[in-house]
Structure formats: structure tokens, C-alpha cells
Symmetry: C2
Subunit: 324 residues, 2 copies
DNA sequence: AAGCCGGGTGAACAAACGTGCAAGGAGGGG
DNA sequence: CCCCTCCTTGCACGTTTGTTCACCCGGCTT
């Protein structure tokens, strides 16, 4: 990028800031702003879009603390976590649901992440959707770290996971640390060995002191299986084993039962996500769930105390509190 | 207000929140929202207006810290205060200027005031303009306190000042403490006496430990005199005295010279605003200035170290840094 | 030097939005 | 019980905003 480009860039930002100020603080019309900035109305429209898209304009919704939605209150009382219920009409499809929840999370995420923080991020369809919408917020010295490997029998999985992580990293100006291992090792011993490598243990150490974790839930036996279960990461025998162990879900390729327990689930010895005892040390653990198919999985994750902040669509939230 | 009204009220807020979420977080059109909420598009438009007006939706502009405007940077370097430069076209009238700066301040004020804080507020045309636009933000246990008396020879001044203070109090859900004394006493001894009254000294004590002060500047000898100078608060003899003392401005009816000094200005013995030594103890001191007519006054206030955060229109900011 | 390419611009159109207005409905007073 | 008042609603209209398109301009290639 040349010097000229750079200064043009900063001109553009300056103009966008001015336009945003005039539009959102002083309530001028775009026409009036165009006049003050000696340009056309369309350009102002574009400037403002740009300002919103790049996070120069930050729009928050603050419910007066005395009136959180009834559902959020119920969830808070029942599970002692903060719930963010995303309004989605009951007749929406699961794809819609996912997309809309993801969009909401993408917009609000900046409130949980700041300079000099470390955020751990899983991967999967939910994370992918969020990553495509996340609104930028400039931070300094912050790190984003991949929670679990993404390789499978066919690929190293690097491109998929790194695309997702990359978008988060770009949006926050954070350093991205990838985790270049398969999602599941074939042999537990290989994992043990690799875990002792300094390059890997450095990552594990970072994971153990991250400030925020962001993840979705896997639900192996629901009708709309999550990415992990459709992507060729597991074999028939693995499924049988999961079924035998009465697994209801996973977080970053670590599986758990309906009561939140993980003991004796053999696949976990080969999975690459953070152990739940490690995860539970993380101060903020943001879980994003959409669709009632993941209800059992969500209940298990709550039992396992994996969640401090839950983002969930309205119907699923309702189902969560419906029957005890 | 009946029980039914109350619940209707909260329904309205709930709907407004949902609408705001759908509109600002999920980018639905008002049409789509109307459909989801089973109402008309116009009602959604109104709901959203309501949500913005009542502060349910909070729009902030965050300039990336590496790119504050050149002017703000210059002011910061020269005077060691935080400047908020409000873009206003050069050809705007002084009335425009005031109105637009006031609007901007009104929108941003919530960022400086929170629960359990005490804010001192002056009165005058600037404060009046701000008060008419201030966006609400619910707080608990916060207090707003009048900085200086408002009575004059004709009226107690209560209605004007209390109208202003009342709007701030209402917007923040804060308890308002009025200061029922004249702007200037006729006799310094009366002030002394009253200052020893417990009801008054309680107010003075609160003033001495306020968290934020918000004030404009008076400029007695400019061509567009401030409220105090037009409202019959002072007599010819007073003006002469001010002129003799080389006064350039006042904050809350306390006068100062170009070098920021106040010693020997006789009128101050009869004024009712907080002594500058008291004011300087306040952590955040927000000063709102618009129009180059107040430039001399502003320079004096800066010399007197009365300001920590300055809100000023662009031309005045430019003039401030122009000649040394 | 001509020619392509990418990014940005304003005009024109289409979509989305705000608002005056008349109609309807709840509540309160006669 | 009726009527009056006040508030809210949806419609219709005019305005404001988003987006497409043709065009221009600087930079880079051939």
C-alpha cells in the first residue's frame, strides 16, 4: 500500500467519522451532510455504511436493568448464568435461527473482548456463521487461539478453521494462534506425545489462561448433525462408542453425558479440545446455541458448568425452561 | 397510573426492545419486524423512535484511538485536556453552533454519568439547550445538584433553573437538588450568613464531592452576551467593576481574568457558584463552548485549570489552537 | 503510448422509512 | 348510560435512504 493510499484511507476514515457524527449525533439528513462534506448523497450513504461495518459506529441495546425479558430472568434463576435470548419467530427454519443468532452474537461480541485479552474459539457451523458477520473493534495486544484441532482423514482442516479464526483476528486486530492438529488423533499416544512438544504446550498454556472462550455445541444424535459429525471426522465405530457411553453433546470435540460427566468416554482421550477442568477456569465462557435439536446437548453443558453466558434463540430458550 | 397502564407500559418497552434487537442486531426491515410483532410498519417505526429516544438503543461513535481528529490531538497536546470537537460548518450561525454542540453533548453525556454519582450542573443558554435534548439513561442513587443560584431582581429564577435541572434529573432518574438563592447577593454578608445555614451547607458539601461538573462559559464583554448578562442579574456598576478588573469570563457566576486568576474580583464575594479551588477537586469537569465569541473566556478557563473535558465546535477549536 | 483494470463517483431508480390524518377504542366524568 | 377526551392504530403520502449502473480517473501492463 503506497503512502498516498494510506492517507486516502485515513481521509476516508476521517470523513466517515464526521459523517457518523453529523448523522447519529446531530440528526442531519444525508443530504445535508453531503452538502457539508462537498460530496454526493450517495457517497454519504456509503460512508455511513462503511462506518457501521467497520465499527466506527457502535450500536448497543441496553435493556433497563429492571426489565430483562422474562425468559432471560427465568434462565438466570434456574441455571445461574447470564442469558441473551435472541428473538426469532417460531416458524423460522433452523438455518434462519442459526443465522440470526449468529448475527446477533457477532454484533455484541465486541463487548466481551478487549485489548490484551486472550479469546479461545472453537470451530463449526455456528462459529463460521458468526465469523462472517463479526463487527470489527480495534484492540491492542490481544490474542485469539484455536481451541481444538480441525484435521480429519482427508484434509488438515487448516483452511476451514483458519478462515474462521482469521476473520475474528482481522476484526479485532488480534494475533491468531492456530492449532495444527487433527480434530481427533487415531492414537491417544500420539496426542500424549505431541502434547509434550513445546510448540503445542505453549498453546495449551495459553488456553489455560484465556479470558474468554467462544463455542457452539455439538449434538451427535440429533437430526441435523453438527459439522463435526458430518465432516468425516468420525467412523462408525466411534459413533457406536459414543452411543454406548450415552453421550449427548460436545464442546470443542470433548464429549459429555446428560449429567455433564465425561469420565470413561474413550473418544475424549483422542480429542483435542481443552479439558473441562481447564475450560472452567476461563472467566467468561460464551456458548451459542440455536435450534431445539441441541436442547439435550445444552442441558448437559449446563450441568457440566461449561457456560457463563448463553446466547440462544427464543424458542430454544422457551423449551429450555419449559419442562423442568 | 393504573396497574393496566403500567403493564401496558412494560409491554411497550418489551416490544421496543424486541424491535430494536431485530432492527439493529439482525438487520431486518421494519416491514419484517411488523410482521413478526403482528402490527403495522408504522407502529414499528414509532417503536424504534421510542427506543432511541428513551435510550434503549445507544449509538456511540468510537474513533479508533490511533486516529482522533487532528484538532483534538493538538488541543490535547497544548492544554492537557480531552477535547471533543463537534463538526459544524464554518458558515453556521452562532445559534446553529450552540444547538448542534448541545445536541452532541446531550447524546454523549450518558458516558460520563452513572449510578451513585453526583453531577453538578450550572444553568444558562448552553445548559438549557443541552437539557432539551439529553438522552435518558437509567441510574440508581445518583444526584444532580445545582451549582449556582438563579434568582435575580425580578424573580427567584427557580422556574428557569429548575426546568433545566429537572430535565437532566428526569433523563437520568436522578434526585435533583436545587439551590434556592439569587445568582448574586446584594450584600456579601448575607451570603456569608446563608452559607452557614445547615440546609445550604449541606448542598455546598455535596458540591465539594461531586464526580462530574457540567458547565458553559459566560463572556461578559462579547457581542452576544450570555444569559447572565442579559437577564437583569447585574447592574451598570457591576459591569464597570468587571471591566475594571479585566474579567474575561465566568463559570457558574464566578469571574476570572485572562490569566485565570480571580483574586480581588469583588463581585465574586457576592456570586453563588463554587469557588474554583472546590471546582478543581471534581474529577471530571465538562465544559461546553460554542462560538468564537467565547474564545477569550475559554482561554481564561483553561488557564485556570477548570476543564478536564472540552466540548467545542470546530471553528472555535481551530481558533483556539491557531495563534499561540 | 494505448489500453486494461480496480476503485470510486454521481444520477436515477426502487426500497425503506417518517408522519399527518382520520378512525377506533379505553377510561373517566357527567 | 352516554359522551367526551385522550391515546393509539393503520393508511397514504412525501421524504429519506440503499443500490444499480454508467462513467471517470489514476495506476499498471503490454
Amino acid at each position: 500500500m503506497s503512502l498516498v493510499d494510506e492517507s486516502a484511507q485515513s481521509d476516508r476514515v476521517r470523513d466517515a467519522l464526521t459523517a457518523a457524527h453529523l448523522y447519529y449525533m446531530q440528526d442531519l439528513t444525508m443530504d445535508a451532510i453531503a452538502h457539508e462534506l462537498h460530496t454526493s448523497r450517495s457517497s454519504v450513504s456509503r460512508l455511513l455504511s462503511h462506518a457501521r461495518a467497520t465499527g466506527l459506529v457502535d450500536i448497543q441495546i441496553r435493556s433497563p436493568l429492571d426489565a430483562p425479558s422474562r425468559l432471560e430472568l427465568l434462565i438466570q434463576e434456574r441455571f445461574h448464568i447470564t442469558a441473551h435470548v435472541v428473538p426469532v419467530p417460531d416458524h423460522a427454519t433452523d438455518v434462519d435461527r442459526l443465522e440470526r443468532v449468529a448475527l446477533s452474537v457477532a454484533r455484541i461480541l465486541g463487548q466481551f473482548f478487549d485489548s490484551n485479552m486472550v479469546m479461545g474459539i472453537a470451530w463449526g457451523s455456528t462459529m463460521n456463521a458468526i465469523s462472517r458477520h463479526v463487527t470489527p473493534k480495534q484492540t491492542h495486544g490481544s490474542q485469539i487461539i484455536q481451541l481444538n484441532g480441525a484435521g480429519n482423514m482427508r484434509t488438515t482442516g487448516l483452511s476451514y478453521a483458519s478462515e474462521i479464526l482469521g476473520r475474528f483476528g482481522y476484526a479485532f486486530g488480534a494475533h491468531v494462534h492456530q492449532f495444527p492438529v487433527p480434530a481427533f488423533f487415531d492414537n491417544p499416544a500420539t496426542k500424549q506425545a505431541l502434547w509434550r512438544e513445546r510448540s503445542v504446550s505453549r498453546l495449551l498454556e495459553m488456553q489455560s489462561r484465556m479470558d474468554v472462550a467462544l463455542f457452539g455445541l455439538g449434538s451427535p444424535f440429533s437430526e441435523v448433525p453438527s459439522h463435526v459429525y458430518a465432516g468425516g471426522y468420525l467412523e462408525e465405530a466411534d459413533y457406536a462408542s459414543l452411543s454406548r457411553s450415552e453421550v449427548v453433546g460436545d464442546v470443542a470435540t470433548i464429549f459429555y453425558r446428560a449429567d455433564g460427566s465425561t469420565d470413561g468416554i474413550q473418544l475424549n482421550a483422542r480429542g483435542t479440545g481443552p479439558d473441562f477442568t481447564v475450560l472452567r477456569q476461563t472467566p467468561r465462557r460464551l456458548c451459542v446455541v440455536s435450534g431445539t435439536a441441541k436442547l439435550a446437548s445444552l442441558r448437559g453443558a449446563l450441568k457440566a458448568d461449561l457456560i457463563t453466558d448463553l446466547f440462544v434463540d427464543e424458542s430454544t430458550a422457551r423449551a429450555l425452561v419449559a419442562n423442568a
